[in-house]
Structures are given as C-alpha cells and as structure tokens.
Symmetry: C2
C-alpha cells in the first residue's frame, strides 16, 4: 500500500500541534552576532538552523519561502539549498512555498526542480490560474506517495477579492471552482488520515466562511496563512480545522522576529520557540472551546 506524505504531516500535527514555521528569512532579520564574520548565505543558514533546532519539536513542519532566497541570487539559493538539506537530514517536513504555475514541459521542469535534486521538498505550493493542466504534471510524484502539493485556493490578502472571490454564473466563486476541481483530481490519492495529496492554501482572514469551507472540502488538508500580523486569531483558525487537525497554520515573521519585541537578540531562537509554543497552545485552546 502506498504510504502518503500527507499521513506523515497529519501525524506530526497530532503529536506537535498545527504550527508551520515560515522560514521567510531576509538578511535584515538577522541579529548582528549571526551576521558577523559570515557570508550572507552562511549567516542565513546559521539563523535558520538555530530556528529549526529550537522549534522542530513544537512545529508540524517548515515552510520555506523561496522569494527571500531568490532575492539574493545564487548566494541566497545556496542558503536555500542548505536549509532544505538540513531539514531533510532531521526528517522535518518541508513545504517549499514557490507558487509556481505553468503547464506541460515547463511544469515537468518545476517538478524536477523542487521534487528532486538540490531543491527537493516534500510539498510545494502551486498557482492554479492557468487551469488543471498546470497541476496534472505533478500527479505522478503524488501518486508515488512521497510528495504533495498545496494549490492556492482562497488566500488571506485583501486582493483575494479581485479574482478568487468572483461569482461565476455556475453559482460558485472562482475559488470554489478551483477547490472542486482539485478535490476531484485528488480523490484517488488520499492517505489513511482521509486527506488527499493535493491540499489547498486557505487563508484564515475571512472568518464568516471558515466552517463552510471546512465542511465542503473535508478531504482537503489546508495550508493556512494569515495568522497574527494579517489579522487571523486562534479562534478564526479553529474554524478551518477538524478537531485541531486537517491543516497547518503558518507564521513567519511572528516567529522569526519574536526577539525584536523584547530586544533579546542573543536569544532569538529561544524567543522563536516561545512564540511557536504560545501560538500552538492558543490554537489548541480555541479548538477545545
């Protein structure tokens, strides 16, 4: 029987809670003592490593936002590669937040780039604008069990209204059409946990629809942005979960920069851990209420 990566993620949430630590690491996030005597890629990797070591047992997974690394060119991508290798070595689950979206031969190249080789991740995020043939090329990887994707569905930004929220004449919003299509596409690649290998990015900032979305897409595992800085609370997040599972909740700057609130530069990793625990416990409490 195929063993699915989504089951591993589900189990991690059971054991460690729903927090996904976002490694959106910009150079100017780093404390001075981390930068001193290091090249940019060494400094970024060292920061990430200390964050990972301090949070892995209280986090379900790590999301690495590739834009931050691309912004530094090859030097940044060396740090990206080393961060992914370190996570893999520790058997931590990696979501590469790349939001790629292209078709045919090009999508196959992206699959090769991010499911194999130097930039190998467990999950990647995809954008569905071009249609389902921009998701299909990843299916062979998903069917083998060890890889998964999260398609953008309904994001947490104000601009979500522009396209995702458009009402179509079929009485569905664009994001619902996307969610229906990926549900259909992934119905035969479900793990023991009941969730499929194609998850959805579902922001927690439109509260009124949380319960409806959770109920309508009950086999879809959610990658949930929008917590904290974007306004999502623990109570909002709870609506998007099934008894505290069925999704992971990302926090990037909230965790990475927790040290800045208290000027505890030297303890940045401990501050990150404290913040992750606080977040995990707040969501657990909201789920149990």
């Amino acid at each position: 029987m195929t063993s699915y990566i989504i089951d591993k993620l589900y189990d991690r949430v059971e054991k460690r809670g729903v927090v996904c630590v976002g490694l959106d690491t910009a150079l100017d996030y780093l404390p001075e003592h981390i930068k001193e005597g290091r090249t940019p890629s060494e400094a970024i990797f060292e920061f990430n490593k200390q964050i990972i070591d301090a949070t892995f047992d209280v986090a379900a997974c790590f999301k690495v936002q590739i834009a931050y690394y691309e912004a530094l060119g090859l030097e940044g991508l060396i740090a990206y590669k080393k961060t992914l290798a370190y996570l893999r070595e520790k058997d931590e689950i990696i979501i590469a937040d790349i939001k790629r979206g292209d078709i045919a031969a090009t999508a196959t190249m992206y699959a090769k780039a991010h499911f194999e080789g130097e930039f190998e991740a467990d999950f990647i995020t995809l954008s569905p604008y071009m249609g389902m043939d921009s998701i299909e090329p990843y299916l062979p990887y998903l069917e083998r069990g060890n890889k998964g994707v999260f398609s953008l569905v309904r994001t947490s930004n104000p601009g979500a209204e522009d396209i995702e929220y458009l009402d179509t004449i079929g009485n569905k919003k664009v994001y619902e059409v996307v969610a229906d299509k990926i549900t259909e596409m992934s119905k035969n690649i479900k793990g023991k946990c009941g969730y499929s290998a194609i998850g959805g990015v579902i922001g927690c900032t439109y509260v009124e629809e949380g319960q409806k979305i959770r109920a309508n897409y009950n086999n879809m595992f959610f990658l949930i942005p929008g917590y904290g800085a974007q306004g999502g609370t623990a109570e909002d997040v709870a609506l998007y979960l099934n008894n505290g599972n069925g999704g992971v909740v990302n926090s990037s700057r909230g965790i990475l920069l927790a040290y800045k609130k208290e000027n505890r530069e030297k303890e940045f990793a401990l501050c990150a851990r404290e913040e992750a625990i606080k977040m995990r416990d707040a969501i657990k409490k909201a789920v149990n209420n």
Copy 2:
C-alpha cells in the same frame, strides 16, 4: 520625461519583426559537440550564446523560461545568470518567464530578485490569481520606466478553460476581469508607442476571439505563446497584432530544435536563424494580407 522599456520593445518589433526567441534550454536539446568537455552550465550557456548570436537581428527579444534552469539546481541557475548577463551586454531585451505570483513583502522580494542583481531582466511574467496586490509591488519599478511585466491573462493551453474562461455574473470572463484590472492599473504608465508597462500573456490558440481581444485592450502589449507546436498559425497571430506590432510571438522549441528536423547538429544556430526568419516572414505576410 520617463523613457519606457515598452517603447524599446515596440521599436525592436518595428525594426526586426515580432519573433520572441524562447530560451527554454533543456540539457537534452543540446547537440553532442556542445556538451563535450563542458559542465552542464557551460554547455547550456554556450548553446544559448550561439542561438543569441545567430538570431538577435531577426528577433525582437528573448524569453528565458526559468523552470528549465531551476530544474538543474544551482548549476542551472549559473547558466541562467550567464545567459541574462550576455543578453544585457548585447543590449537585447530580456523577458524572464517566471510566472511568479505573491503579495506584499514576498512580491517585493521577487521584484528584487528579477529586476535587480544577478537575475536582472527587463520584463517578467506574473500570475494574477491572488489579485491586484500581487501586481502592485512591481509598480515602483514600472513607474521608473526601465522595467515591465506581463500578467497572465488568457493562455494558450487547453486548461485555460478551467479558470480563465469562467463566466462571471458581471458578464465577463475571468480573463477579461484580469485584463480590465491591469488596464486600469497601468493607465498612467504608458509609453510613447501607446502601450503600457503592464502587458498581457495572450495565447493565439483561440482564434475566434483574436480581433475582439485586440480591440478591447488596445493599450496592452501582448506576449503571445501558442505559435507552431501548440497549433497557432501566422494567420491566427495576425489577429492579435495592430498592423504587425503591439505584441511579440514566442517560439521556443520550434527555433531551438529546428536543427533536429534535418539532422544538422553542427549547424543548430544557423537552423535556429532560418526558422526565426521563416516565422517572422510568415507573420509579416499574414499581417499584410
């Protein structure tokens, strides 16, 4: 007065025709004699360099598809960087086909990655699924004049039907909503040529709508995929142009692999040139008919 990159592209089309040479360079596209004695990145760069040297005077611009380079990890991205640097050195116009789509701080990082530094291009392609706040962060670069973007609007793949073609209750298709919004957003960043700094990716494979789309979005410069292998003919393409300008027509494999049709491995660059000229002239003829 601001000098816009779109005017430079318009002028190139006037002088050299509408062909955009797509450098979607996979390792297995390379003739044996190019691979011999070279590392992968050296071989890919050498191939690209010879293609560029053989086609630049008959091409408006070059589109580099980053997926092909990402697929080879850092080694591929070294070839990507060198290819962009070579094009810049020759004052050729670069469209980086990256189809990124993200918001706020992340989009700013992508702008930094692809409008500055090692991976600097003149134009980048973007995906609008998340809404207009995934395009806005690029505006400061566009307003300065020397950069442009192409947003996905209506692509050439069959899957375009899934999302882009959905009818909304406002009596527009999703792609028309996107086109309206980017037209509005770019109305104050227009070049002397009349086209704005935010172009649209408009495939030429849905022929019946060509004239309508051209007429409705008359200030939008088109990046047109779908010619050749995907079924678009010179006559189809002509419908999307204004007297032979207002767009560039991409061909990647059709040009790069022209040598395979005739087993002229050693003359791959000459074959690419012949193919580009054939394409340019066929479209010119169709425009004049």
